[in-house]
Assembly symmetry: C2
Homo-oligomer: 281 residues x 2
């Protein structure tokens, strides 16, 4: 019987560190500020900004939320983001996804100055990530990796399957795990026999957005399974892993909720605080 | 008995097209120009710039070679590259690798304006490559893929192993093959049982720089093997694949020399001509 891997303890540990860092910053009259742009009325984004606000309050970061209309023009957005770019009191800028269809997401993300781009949304920071010299990687990918590391596993030489290939999770996971000397296979909708591939993996990261996709037929005995799926099914958030079925086989299975999700927000805040500390130097 | 896959026919076809394109450009008084910076005296780079010059001559592109001393400063380089960036008569800029150790390669590559960065050396173009919206990918990776396509294979759903994870070949191959809906595994020095992984692959791209690494123990019957290795062994260029041994098992094995190498130069020239055509619009 495997262990259900939760992130609470790690989140608390990072939060304690952030509380201390923020106290020190405030002694130098620096209050870390995260500016967050929510364009339109996407339900998921409204939900996540609520969580971000709550966590910022707990840590002592000012959450500077900009609610903007869905029909805002690129030029209007540009003025707002450039003001935040040039404001020395702002330490991180996050643009909530998805964006309204009328906007070109890539152009909008690229309005952020790379040094305040704490979730690696800009082309420049994506380029730095894949050329191996990066300050910020997408927080969800970092969070999934840090949660897996809580098991004590070393990635070097391990066979890892990533199910899903989004620009914000699957592909950055490939790059970050490759940096850690793992052998990574990225599967997706067009892949054959994903379950057989997972069956040979030491670790599986599931980020397909397909509820309970990973069942017993996917799991090697003693493996580690990290669930990054969050699909809303009848008002309940459901992961990509059928936990109750696979916990009998795997050594560790991360939970949804209580796994990667809450850690992602904390990692985001860690990037804001780290930028605020840099601003002091 | 498999087929030895050579690139000559494809190269000739692309060259004919380029000759036609260049003739048309010259009717509009546009001569395509490739500016190439060779810093220091690396033997491989001297060899490759010789080939590039010859191929440019054949196609009708002006090869504008800048031989620069190994102890050139970043500031001096910056002045040279910025002049080329701003020169409307220059359609592509290439900085030969490796660079002298005193220079920061990433900073030097980033001197090139992205729109003339025909071999995807800049952070901006790497970012565009991995966010899926790119104009230029590294020419060696494109060349390996185009050569594999000569067999008529469709990549969708195929299991592909890439041996090697350099920023200029292995990782871009992952991204480009993933774009084509293949399931890609990237192996490297720290990977376990690379031969077993290759044994399950429909296609193997070998870019490890390890002479004759891929022997019969790596090869599934009917597979396609693309050799991107070019190691100088006693004055002779040797690939990563033991061709004579694996040709008995695979359906297609690309040759070294005569495979990916010559095609890479032609793809580079195609990017120059394509930029020259864009400059007319």
């Amino acid at each position: 019987m495997g262990i259900k891997l939760k992130s609470k303890e790690l989140c608390d540990r990072i939060k304690t560190q952030l509380n201390n860092d923020v106290s020190t910053l405030k002694e130098s009259s620096i209050e870390p500020v995260l500016s967050s742009l929510l364009i339109g009325n996407d339900g998921g984004s409204i939900f996540y900004t609520g969580i971000q606000k709550k966590k910022c309050d707990e840590v002592g970061i000012k959450y500077d939320l900009h609610r903007l209309p869905a029909d805002i023009s690129f030029q209007e957005l540009k003025i707002i983001v450039e003001k935040l770019n040039n404001d020395d009191n702002v330490h991180g800028i996050l643009i909530q996804s998805p964006l309204p269809e009328a906007l070109n997401a890539r152009e909008v993300f690229n309005l952020i100055t790379p040094k305040k781009d704490i979730d690696c949304q800009t082309t420049t920071n994506i380029g730095k990530l894949y050329s191996g010299e990066f300050d910020f990687a997408p927080c969800t990918a970092i969070s999934a990796i840090e949660l897996a590391k809580q098991t004590g596993i070393e990635f070097e030489g391990k066979d890892i399957v990533v199910i899903g290939r989004s620009n914000v999770v699957g592909k950055p996971l490939f790059q970050l795990l490759n940096n850690e000397d793992a052998t990574v296979t990225v599967c997706h909708l067009k892949s054959k026999d994903i379950n057989k591939k997972c069956m040979e993996a030491d670790i599986v990261f599931a980020c397909a957005g397909s509820p309970k996709l990973v069942d017993a037929s996917y799991v090697k005995k003693g493996s580690i399974l990290i669930d990054i799926g969050t699909t809303n099914v009848d008002g309940k958030i459901v992961g990509d892993i059928n936990l109750e079925e696979v916990i009998e086989i795997a050594d560790y299975v991360s939970t949804v909720p209580g796994g990667v999700g809450p850690l992602t927000t904390i990692i985001l805040l860690r990037n804001v605080v780290s930028n605020a500390i840099k601003s002091k130097e």
